[in-house]
């Protein structure tokens, strides 16, 4: 019996998925933000494809966090902080939003001398923004900032 060949539709690769059946609002927001950034801005794709890191973000004033598990072109977002994180960012909600507003300058370095950058750097110095694992992973942090930034 002759069979008709079924041509498979090319499927869009899934860039972001969620580890939990019910991702938290914060997890959905960060996952959605990163997906929109990577899909809409080709310059962010290179970083996204190269990045392998487990990044925790904890928002102190809502007592919620997520773990972003970057694996060379794929991101899995977990509700809450999971073990074996490369870096963990702890800050209030406003500061977390400021991080995504950092501009990226020459050589892909985040800019810390404009208004938003100074605010972020000031919070880091005052301990209102804490980054565990910062020193050995500064390049990872820069790559995450570039992917995360909407500027």
């Amino acid at each position: 019996m002759a069979r008709r060949k079924v041509k498979a539709e090319p499927q869009q690769p899934v860039l972001v998925d969620y580890a939990d059946g019910e991702p938290s609002a914060f997890a959905s927001m960060l996952g959605g933000l990163i997906q929109a950034n990577v899909e809409g801005r080709p310059e962010k794709q290179k970083d996204f494809e190269a990045l392998v890191a487990r990044v925790g973000i904890w928002v102190n004033d809502i007592n919620e966090g997520v773990t972003l598990d970057f694996k060379s072109g794929k991101l899995t977002v977990h509700n809450g902080l999971k073990p074996h994180r490369t870096i963990t960012i702890r800050a209030d909600a406003e500061t977390v939003m400021s991080l995504s507003n950092l501009k990226v300058g020459l050589l892909g370095m985040p800019i810390y001398y404009d208004e938003v950058g100074r605010e972020v750097a000031g919070k880091l110095l005052r301990g209102k923004l804490q980054i565990d694992g910062l020193l050995p992973n500064i390049l990872t942090l820069n790559a995450v900032t570039r992917i995360f930034s909407v500027q």
Partner: protein, 140 residues
Amino acid sequence: MAVKAFSSEWASAFKDEVNRSSTYKSAAKGWKWTVGLVVEAEPDKQFPEAKGVVMDLFDGEARDVTVGPASDAQKCDFVITAPYSRWKEVATKQLDATKGMLQGKLKLKGDLPTIVRYTKASQEMTECTTRVPVEWPDEK
């Protein structure tokens, strides 16, 4: 003088408050999208029908703010949805709008990178709502 919550008078007072804010004017430079606020009904709080606030915002100016059916607000480029009592918490400074969105207490629909880029403008807009004296239906 206090105006009824989510009435046409409230919309007009809110628009004036936004246009008086120099912080909003500079933070919202370049903004060119409509924003709809859906206020879901809570009959037990004397807010029996959902309402929609449609905000025509352009380049740091509120060109128009109107109150009508929720379906009008749902057609906007950005839509923020919450029950009446949540909006009341925002307008009375009991809930920070940024935190509310991260916690899912306020549900946002629209292009996330754009709204995140204008976080300062949306925070100032929230501040403007807190400066409008309001008569709340469940406090009569």
